[in-house]
Structure formats: C-alpha cells, structure tokens
C-alpha cells in the first residue's frame, strides 16, 4: 500500500519547464533514503496552471507545490513526506493572495473553474486504464450498449452539447444525420488536428485522459452504427499519440475495443492517423482527404461527411473535447447534470487556453456563460505587469478581438459570434496597450495566406490582396480608401470562400476595424502606431523628467544610438535607431516612450 500519491504534471507544458528532471531528482532522493516503495509517483495529465509549472500535487494531503526545481526535492521529501509538514516556500504565492494556497480551492486560478472534461486530468495515470475505470470510466459506454441508437442521439441532443471544434454545430443532430444516412459501413473520426497557433486544449485532454475520448468515440460508433474510427492527431503531439496508442492497446486488451465488445455483438476498431500539421487539415473535408492519403484540401459540401465522408462512407466527425464530454452525458442522469451548467443555447463547460499578455497562462475549464472579465481577471489573474487591457483575441486566426468595453460579455457561442469573434476551439490571447491591432490583423492574415490550400480564388488571391493592403498600412503608405477596400474584400471573401478557413479569415480584420478603427486611421492619416509596433510609424524618446542616467539603455542598444553620461539624461539619435525596443525592456524607470515620427520640417520649425 502506498502512503502517498505524488502526481507530477507530465503534460507538454510542464515537461518543457523541466518536470522530467524534477521527477528524476525526486526518484533519486526517495531511492537514496530507501523509501521508494511507500510512494507512488505518476506523470499525470495537465492541471492547467502551466504558468507556475512544474507542479506536484500530493494526495491525500491535497497540497499543491509549484515552480519546482530538482534542487527542491530533498527538502520536499525531508519535510513533507517524512516530517509530515507542508513546505510553505514551495506553495503558490501571488500578490493577490494573502495566504499561500495549499490547494485548488484556495488558489484563485482554480476557484471559478468547473472540471468536466478535465475531470481526470492530473488525477489519474493516463497510461493505466484501471485508473480511468475506477473513476467511472466506460460505464456510460456499457449503458449505451443497452440503449437503442436513436435514444443515444436523443440524449446527446437533449443535453444540448454543441461541437467544440469551432462552429458549435449541435452534436446530437450530427450523430442523428449520420445514423440515418444509408450505408453499411460508417466511420467515426476524431479531429485532433488543433491547428490554431497557441491552442493546446485538445492536446492536454489527450495527454491527460485519453480514454475519455476513446469512450466518447465508442459511444458515437454505437449510436451511428460505425465499426471503425480514426483519430487524426497532429504529428507534433508525440506524447498525445503515445498515450493514445497505450490507451487503445489497453482498451483492446480489456475487450473494450475490437470484435464483439463486451459480448454485445458490437465491433469497433480504432486507428490513429498522424497529420502533417497544416492548419487547413483541421477542416473536416480536408481532414478526411488527408486520412485517405490525398492532399489535405477541403471540398465543396454538400455532400456532407454525414452522408459521404471518409472513403465515401457516412462519417461522423467531432472534436476531441466534444468526444470527451460524451461519457458525462451518457452516464445515468448525465443529461440533466450536463445541461444544468451553461446558458440557454450553450450548455456545459468550455476549456480555454490562456495566452498572450495574461498573468496566469495555462489551461482552464469554465462554465459557459461566465463573463470574459471573470476568465481574464479572476481565473487569468489579469494582464501581465498590470498594464492596460486592450483586447482579447478569441478563436485564433478565424476569430476576432473583443475590446475592453465588452469585458462583461458572457462566453457562449452566440454572444461571441455577435461580437464578431467566434468560440473557436478555445484559444484566448490577451493583448495589452503594446499590441498594435493593425499589426495583429496583418499577422493573422499572413498566417491564413500561408495556410490557404489555394483551391478557391477568394481565399487564395483575396487574402493576399488584403495582406498587401495591411502591410502597406503598417509601412505607413496606407491610403484613406484602403479601409473601404479592406472591408469590401473582407465581406466578399467571407461570403464566397469554399471552406471555413477562407470564410472566417477576414474576421480578425473586420473585428479590429470594428473596435479599433481609430488605430487604422491613425496609421493611415497620422502615420502613427500608438502601440509602438509598426516600426516606421513611431519614434522612441527618453523622457528627461524621469531618466536617471543609469546607462543601461545605452549599453544594450545594438546600434549605439543612445548617448549620455552617467547620471545624466540620455538621448536617442533617431537617424541610427532601428526601433528594436531593447532599451525599453531594460529601462528601470519606464522612461523610454513612444512618440509620433517628427519630420525634419517639424523639428526645424
């Protein structure tokens, strides 16, 4: 019997902040003391708070240690495991908490979260099927085996689950369409392509609780009458793929996958297909083409995959998170429980990846209907360095920005769409006053232009034209007519492109114009980028009032544009400055400020 369970976060985020080394050090320390057998060490799934990783949670004491280093392990073992006393030094601290948080409910990051999809992540060993089963796993599936097919679809419909892959299509309806589509052979496909830059919700689910997704797919297979499934996972997720393979092998061993599952006569086989990682391969028809071995390119719909999908057979394709929700819904009483969370039109929870200029970067799961303010300020801890919040980009390159005045918008499919953004797969990128909104639009457009499959004219050529205009504006050669042209192009492309990529790629432009038109106008009419991003459209100057003459700026400047004696006010030679921004980073007094470009004529007059 183990005395304590030590759950080390082994997800990609914490691994990159060295949780592997932490585990080695811990193991070595336990071995040195000869008490290895008393403790169970698990490389568990993501607990979300990547900002403060590596993280270890010790059960049954429920103590949350963070920002760990290999060197901390001796103390942790000595004090906590042997001495039975909490190591205060390694607990979570933050300016906004008075007492160091010992566990989830005392840490603000976790307080407003609801763990549905992430129910097992960080708590079980994802490589051991029994742990999933012990927490009620595969019970919903065995219940579904005894149900009639329409009944299963009906429960999913009644729960009000909508697709978590982006568009929010009602999942129960999709299952029903595929169920009634004529055909002997049908497929279930799980979309784990997760191409949004910065998003990692699906990866975390697969790494932390792969069986939840497999169970969801099994239930879907049973509902629609499919006997084969594919998980399309990007090859850049080796850990997710490894854990999936282990999970599939174990499920097969337990008779939960394969022929005549649980003696019910139901057969289901699951394959993994590694995707090459093109953004457009996340689009469902492109994804199916890619599984078929063709170039990952969208095709016109109809026919929809539900009628003619993989290899021309009826196919139900859902997102990872969508499938992970299914076992919750299909368990006894699950429908009501699921639907009790959320809003009228958006039920359940949503997992978000918090990124950008937010204090608590990481993964969170919140109930639908929560406001953006709550997510960013309560869960996310607000803007880094307490700078001014400018906007948040929801939905990545297909989404839009939401400005400060809409912070109290509830998060649900329809409100977000109305605001010009989309739920998307759940990426939230926070921007502060140092983000240029024109540059943001340009960045996303250059992304979509590079990712466009090139099949249809509006997306292939139209995005390039919009990108050219944006580049011009950022260079300072924008013209007043550009805004109208941009908007007109954006609307045409939105309504004419073949697939979702082209149809949504104007969103970043349209929403930034909608909420930050003045920034565009400043760029065009006044040649000024207030965020200090578009290099041709601002200058740095050193505020003589606050400069203390510490010389740090002069020392970092790569082109020696800054001069000044020690303890005296420094100045920047504009003819040399490349606006790299190195000085801004090092100035202890925030004295390096942004100003309009002064023309020679202005100076002399």
């Amino acid at each position: 019997m183990y005395e304590k369970h030590l759950m080390i976060c082994g997800a990609t985020g914490c691994l990159s902040s060295n949780s592997g080394k932490v585990k080695e050090a811990l193991e070595a320390e336990l071995a040195r003391r000869g008490i290895k057998e008393k403790y169970r060490l698990v490389m568990a799934g993501c607990v979300g708070f990547c900002e403060v990783g590596p993280i270890i949670v010790i059960y049954p004491d429920e103590v949350f240690y963070c920002r760990l280093k290999p060197g901390d392990m001796a103390e942790l073992v000595e004090k906590h495991l042997i001495g039975g006393e909490v190591v205060e030094r390694l607990l979570y601290t933050s300016p906004d908490v008075e007492v160091p948080g010992r566990f989830y409910d005392t840490i603000p990051f976790y307080r407003k979260q609801v763990f549905n999809v992430l129910r097992n992540s960080g708590i079980i060993d994802p490589e051991i099927i029994d742990e999933y089963i012990m927490r009620g796993g595969y019970r919903a599936f065995s219940r579904a085996l005894k149900m009639e097919r329409p009944q299963i679809c009906d429960e999913v419909k009644r729960a009000g689950l909508r697709g978590r892959g982006g568009a929010g299509f009602p999942t129960g309806m999709k299952w029903e369409f595929t169920m009634i589509a004529p055909g002997e052979k049908k497929y279930v496909v799980c979309n784990a392509d997760e191409g949004d830059p910065g998003a990692f919700m699906d990866r975390s689910i697969l790494e932390g609780d792969p069986h939840a997704v497999i169970e969801g797919m099994l239930i879907c297979g049973r509902a629609i009458g499919a006997d084969e499934g594919y998980i399309y996972c990007r090859a850049e997720y080796p850990l997710a793929i490894k854990r999936l393979r282990i999970a599939i092998a174990q499920a097969e061993e337990y008779g939960l996958l394969g022929e005549n599952i649980l003696a019910s006569g139901f057969n289901f086989h699951l394959n993994i297909k590694e995707g090459a990682g093109a953004f457009v391969c996340g689009e469902e028809t492109a994804l199916l083409a890619s599984i078929e071995g063709k170039r990952g390119m969208p095709r016109p719909r109809p026919p929809f995959p539900a009628v003619s999908g993989l290899f021309g057979k009826p196919t139900c394709i859902n997102n990872v998170e969508t499938f992970a929700n299914i076992p919750l819904i299909l368990r006894e009483g699950g429908v009501e429980e699921f639907a009790s969370i959320g809003t009228e039109s958006s039920k359940g929870t949503k997992v978000f990846a918090l990124a950008g200029k937010i204090r608590n970067t990481g993964l969170c799961e919140v109930p639908m209907g929560i406001t953006i303010r709550e997510v960013i300020f309560d869960v996310g801890g607000g803007v880094q360095g307490d700078r001014e919040f400018k906007a948040v980009q929801a939905g990545g390159p297909s989404g839009g920005c939401i400005p400060a005045e809409l912070l109290d918008l509830p998060i649900d499919y329809d409100s977000l769409t109305k605001a010009g953004a989309i739920m998307g797969s759940g990426g939230l990128v926070v921007m502060d006053d140092r983000t240029c909104m024109v540059d943001l639009a340009r960045y996303f457009l250059s992304f979509t232009q590079k990712e466009s499959c090139g099949k249809c004219i509006p997306c292939r050529e139209g995005t390039k034209r919009m990108l050219e205009i944006l580049e011009r504006i950022c260079d300072g050669s924008g013209e007043p007519a550009d805004l109208d042209t941009l908007e007109s192009l954006a609307f045409s492309i939105k309504d004419s492109a073949l697939c979702g990529l082209g149809q949504t790629c104007p969103n970043p432009i349209l929403s930034t114009i909608r909420y930050f038109r003045h920034e565009y106008e400043e760029h065009i009419n006044e040649q000024f980028c207030r965020a200090g991003v578009c290099k041709a459209l601002f200058q740095y100057y050193i505020d003589p009032e606050t400069c203390i003459g510490c010389t740090r700026c002069a020392r970092v400047c790569p082109v020696s544009a800054i001069s000044g004696e020690k303890k005296e006010v420094h100045a920047i030679d504009q003819s040399l400055c490349t606006r790299c921004g190195s000085c801004v980073e090092v100035c202890p007094k925030n004295s390096i400020q942004i100003t309009r470009v002064r023309r020679k004529a202005d100076v002399s007059s």
Binding site: A278, R295, M297, R299, P300, P302, T448, Q449, K450, E451, S452, C453, G454, K455, C456, I457, P458, R460, E461, G462, T463, K464, R465, E468, S488, L489, S492, K494, D495, S496, A497, L498
Partner: protein, 696 residues
C-alpha cells in the same frame, strides 16, 4: 419526372431531383457566370463565381455544386452578387498576365477573357507570386504556360477521373499555389508524371495554360473553321472536330456538343495533326532501285497493264486487293466493285479478322441488323462490364477510360478475362485468367455459370477452364446485373476460333446482353473501319449489305448493278492473301494503306500501293498512288458499335481521294462505270447497304 419546383429570378421552374441549381437554371435559359464548371466534369467549386442568393440562407451559395430543393427561391443577379463576382474575377485577373492577351493563342476562346468582358472587370495590379516559368516541358504535343493557369482544377479532375492518370496536382499554398505535373509529390515533366497525351486537359483548360503545340500564330480562334469529323485511328470511331484556318489544321477537339462522355485519346487528339513522315503528293514508280515521280495517268496505265496481263496469264485468282482497315465505306465499295466486277476476283480484304467477322455476323443474326452496341455514356452507366482481351488500354484507350470511370465513379462491377494490368487492380472486381485450354473454355465456363450450372457441373467447367468454381460463380453473379455489357478487345480475335466466338456469344446471351434488339456487346476489331468495310463489301465472302457472295441469286442481282458478272469462286482472306503473295500464287496485288511490316511479298510480280506517307510504303512496291490525310477525306465510317458517322474534309487534299483512285483504276482496267461524285456513289450503294447513306 420533374419533381422539384423552385423559383429562379421570379420564374417558376421544374427540375429533377439531384439537379444542381446551375443545371436547372441553364435548362430554363437563365445564365449564371462560371469559370471552373465544365459540363463534362463533376463540380469543382474552385472559382466561386457562380454564387446565387437563396431565400432564407444567410449567405450566397455556389450554384454549380448545390442541388435544387423544393420550394427554393433563388436570385442569380442581384447588385450584391454582381459586386462579389466582379471582386472575385478581379482577384483572378490579378495573377493572370493579361498583357499577353494581345498575342495569346486562346484570345476569343478564353473563358477568363470572356468573363472579364461580360462582367466588365477593371484590370487590377498584378500580385506577386511564385509561379513556374513558361513551358518547360519537352514533349511533342502539349504546351504549358503556368503563368496563365487560373487554378480552376479542370485538368486535375479530367486527368484523374476520366483518364485515370492523375498527372496534375495542386502544390504550394496561398498565393503560391500551383498546378504542377508531379509523381509521388515531386514536380516533373508530364511524361514522367504518367501522361499518355490524350489531350483531355488541353480540351478543358479554359485559358491558354494548356495548348496544343505547333499552333503558334497559325490563326485566331475566331478565324478557325470547325469541321466535324470522326476519328478512325481505332475501331471505336470517336467523334471529333477539326479546327482549321485556310488549309492548316490547328487543333482537334472533342465535339462541343453531344455526348457527355465524348473523349479522345492521344491518337485522335494529336496523332494525325501533322504527319511525322514525309508526305507523298505525286504518284511514284520504282526504276532501277530509285523512286521517280510519274504522272497519275501513267501510274494508272502501268498498274492496269500489269494486272490485266497477270489475269490473262494466270487467271483472276492471281490478283488481290488488301487494305489496312482504314478505308472509308465509299472507298471500300469502289474497291470491291473494281475487284469483283472488273478484275473478276473475290480476293479482296480491306482489313478485319475472320473471327471478328464471324462474331459480328452471329450477333447480327440474333440482335437484328438495326441493333447497335453501347455508347461510352451507356458504358459509364453500366451495372457490370465483362472485359475480354488484353490490349484495350493501349489500342482503344477511350473505352478503357469509360470502363474505369464506370467502375470508380459509377456502379459497374468489372470482370476481367485475361490478366489485369497493374493499374487496373484497384477497380477490377473479378479477374479470371484463362488456363491452358484458352479463352474459349473460360468463356464457356462463365456462360455455364450464368445459365445456372452449379455443383459438379460447374466444378467440371471450372477445372477445364483452369479457374476456381467460386470465381466463376462470383463473375456470373456480377454479370447478372442490370445494364450488363461485354467489351472485347482486338487481341481476342487474333487467337479466337469458332469455338471461342460461339462461347463469347453464348455468354453474352446468358448475361442478357444479346437478344432481339439488344446488343450490349462491343466487339472491337484491330481494323479501324472494320464494320464499315464489312458492310460495304470489303471482305471476300460478303457483298455490300452483307449479302453472301456464295449465293448465285445475290451475284445475279449485283451483276445487274456492276454491269458485269461476279466471280463465284470464294475469295481469300487477308492473311491468306499475304501467304499467297509470299508463295507466288498471288502475282498482282493492290494494297490500300500500310501492309503488315512482317509480310513477305516476294512472290508478287506487280505491287501497287496507295499511301499518304513514305514510311507506309512497303518494300518492293512498283507503283505508289498518293492518298489523302484523315482531315482531307470526306467519307463515312462505321464504328464498332455500328454507328455511321461522316468525316468531312477540313482541308482540300492535294491528291485524289481514295474512292476516285479506285474509280480511275477500274476505268483503266476497262470498266465502263465511274462515279461523278460521292453522291452518285452513295446512291448506287444505298439500296443494299445504308452504309454510305445518311448517318445512322
């Protein structure tokens, strides 16, 4: 069966279920602009020009790939749509080198130019992109100019779905997307990518990104005259159109209208456009080992003199007329009239296999003279197709394309007799290889399985044929499908004996492919106009109208028309004539077209030939008559399925027509008849065979 009712631009319209909005609109005369749509291809959805507004939908949808639904209310020409179309078109023009339009070969026939004109697009600034440079392909047929490609996707689709080759694919992303020829994802030449130069992609390309080679500055599209014709490079007899300016043939295309499944192969599209070998335009004679040019009259005189002397010395049986299967129906009629009525011999065979003749006659007996074989469109709708023989892909590629399409995109189950080629494996359902007992035993066994043989009886058949009973059962099961067809490739006839022919017909009958009025049997001869030649009297035993020479009453009847008695002695078939020519029994020979390269004509005293190019002239020829090229010929040809099509002269021939030479030879040999023109010839032939009459 118009079961869907909808409104387009306020007009009530009825359409079949499954029809696309675009088709429904066009059927009722409403035009929607398109750029990537092609009536012969499935909708591609690349260009987005065909947007329409549908009441109740939040945004416009494409008309080319969305089916009509009952009660739809559609607008095709609103200000919003016009603006969006113009915007999309402008985008397309922004990567198209429109400054080339002044000199572009496609000018006037370019679909992009036409859209720019009809939508009155402004000329946008060019966007920069990485595109391949102008034509790099070293091939004799197709010129590619990638800069002009508008990425409509038609070439990719036609090559994949119709030709089954997949030479082209999209590569790159965004503005740098390109259509490239590739093999295993690596860019390469067309040839390396598996191109068979069928030219289908050239025919569907809306711009000048793919063009026929060698037409540069030959003439503008609108100057071109379109002359309908028929391809007689193989016995399928595809319809085509020749485009000429003056007497210069610039390109050959599939007919604009007509069957959806009308395609051409490399031989039809490019093969006869320009003769590679040197052309013969004046009669030649061999003297002291050298060719000398002689008068036409002189050539006639020498030939007639020699033939008449041989007849006098050795009898008419020492004379013969052969052909390479490409004679038109009219030419065949004249040559046989000359041979039988003037030279006095039935030794005439303008090309066809005896086994093929036997099979065609037997099928005709069963189905009746009016029943015709399947069109390519019908084959594509097939439920099952039995393919017999091995050389379809190489000899009759268009049939191979149709079969493959039927299998891959239709519902046809393909049963193969003979080894399946490697690239067929994906779509051939059952493949039966004949055992040592040959094709006859195998066909017999399938026929037996089809007529319900089972148990020991079937095992016995299977053992005899060298295949498993299970495979036979499977094949039979598939062939029982509705719309079941058999296609026989030329190679079959080479080795087929009467037993094989009987087995083939028995099989077709038990599969329901052959009965009174039904002839779902396509028998392809190696001779292009085999069917027309047979029906026009160009084979030894059959007079025009497929009347037996052996029948004295028939000969009597013909003698009245020919103005001379007809020989009763049975004539020799082509292979026997060649054997007799080698052994010296045949001493005077007239060969129309190419003679088999392997044939020895050692025994022949006087050899006269009619050839268009030098490379076709056999060794030992004494006199050579020139012949017209295919696009210079007016004449009728009968396809293997039994359809008669007229080929019209697209250019004036610098030489006499084949039938004229035939008449002149007959006259030189003493005939009192001669046809003033084709009309007169056709009129005489018509009562017995409608082969030369109007198109059937």
């Amino acid at each position: 069966m118009k079961n869907v009712s909808l409104k387009i631009n306020g007009k009530q319209i009825f359409a079949d279920e499954g029809t696309t909005i675009l088709e429904a609109a066009r059927q009722s005369g409403i035009q929607i602009p398109t750029l990537c749509y092609h009536p012969r291809l499935r909708p591609l959805g690349h260009c987005r020009l065909c947007l329409v507004e549908v009441e109740g939908l939040p945004r416009p949808i494409t008309a080319c790939d969305n089916p009509v639904r009952d009660g739809m209310v559609i607008e095709t020409d609103t200000p919003l749509l016009r603006e969006m179309r113009l915007e999309i078109l402008t985008m397309a023009l922004a990567v198209h080198p429109y400054e080339d339009c002044l000199t572009c070969e496609k000018g006037g026939a370019c679909e992009l130019q036409e859209k720019a004109y009809s939508l009155q697009s402004a000329l946008p600034q060019q966007l920069e992109r990485e595109a391949g440079s102008a034509a790099v392909d070293e091939n004799p047929h197709i010129e590619r100019d990638e800069r002009k490609c508008i990425i409509c996707g038609r070439c990719i689709e036609v090559c994949r779905s119709v030709v089954g080759r997949a030479v082209f694919s999209l590569a790159g992303n965004g503005i740098n997307t390109r259509v490239i020829a590739a093999r295993d994802g690596r860019e390469c030449s067309l040839e390396e990518a598996g191109c068979i130069f069928c030219g289908q992609c050239v025919d569907v390309c809306p711009v000048a990104a793919l063009l026929e080679k060698g037409r540069a500055s030959g003439g503008r599209e609108w100057e071109m005259k379109t002359v309908p014709g028929v391809c007689f490079e193989c016995s399928l007899g595809c319809l085509l159109e020749r485009r000429v300016v003056g007497d210069r043939l610039l390109k050959i295309t599939v007919p604009r209208e007509g069957e959806k499944a009308a395609w051409l192969c490399s031989k039809g599209k490019f093969g006869v456009r320009e003769p590679e070998a040197e052309r013969i335009t004046v009669p030649l004679a061999r003297e002291n080992g050298n060719w000398i040019e002689i008068d036409y009259e002189e050539a006639l005189r020498r030939t007639a003199e020699a033939f008449l002397r041989i007849k006098e010395d050795y009898g008419a049986g020492a004379l013969a007329v052969i052909g390479d299967g490409r004679a038109s129906n009219e030419e065949a009629y004249v040559l046989q009239k000359w041979a039988r009525g003037v030279l006095g011999t039935n030794n005439i065979d303008l090309g066809s296999e005896p086994a093929w003749v036997e099979a065609v006659l037997a099928a005709r007996e069963i189905a009746g003279p009016r029943a015709v074989g399947p069109t390519m469109a019908e084959l594509q709708q097939a439920g099952a197709i039995l393919v017999v023989g091995v050389d379809l892909a190489e000899r009759i590629p268009v049939v191979q394309m149709a079969i493959q399409q039927a299998a891959r995109f239709g519902r046809a189950a393909i049963v193969r007799v003979g080894p399946a080629a490697e690239d067929e494996n994906a779509w051939v359902r059952v493949c039966l290889e004949p055992g040592p007992a040959g094709a006859a035993a195998l066909l017999q066994a399938i026929a037996a399985a089809l007529s319900g043989a089972s148990g020991a009886a079937l095992e016995e058949q299977a053992a005899a044929a060298g295949v498993s009973a299970e495979a036979l059962r499977q094949a039979a099961e598939l062939l029982k499908a509705e719309r079941s067809y058999t296609v026989v490739a030329p190679s079959f006839w080479e080795a087929a004996d009467t037993a094989a022919v009987q087995a083939l017909l028995a099989l077709a009958r038990s599969a329901g492919q052959l009965s009174r009025g039904v002839r779902n049997l396509l028998m392809l001869s190696a001779a292009s106009n085999a069917r027309g030649i047979l029906e026009s009297g160009g084979t030894p035993h059959w007079l025009p109208g497929i009347r037996p020479v052996a029948d004295a009453a028939v000969r009597e009847e013909a003698a009245a028309v020919y103005g001379a008695p007809l020989p009763g002695k049975a004539g020799l078939e082509r292979q026997k004539i060649l054997a007799a020519a080698a052994s010296g029994k045949i001493k005077g020979l007239f060969a129309c077209g190419k003679v088999d390269p392997g044939a020895s004509l050692r025994g022949v005293v006087f050899l006269a030939v009619q050839c268009a190019t030098f490379d076709a002239v056999p060794e030992g020829a004494d006199v050579v008559f020139p012949a017209p090229l295919p696009h210079e010929i007016e004449g009728a040809y009968t396809s293997a399925a039994g359809r008669i099509h007229c080929n019209y002269a697209a250019a004036k021939a610098p030489v006499k027509a084949g039938w004229e030479t035939g008449c002149d030879l007959a006259a030189a040999c003493g005939a009192t008849w001669r046809f003033a023109d084709l009309a007169a010839l056709r009129q005489e032939a018509a009562p017995n065979c409608d082969c030369c009459a109007s198109e059937r």
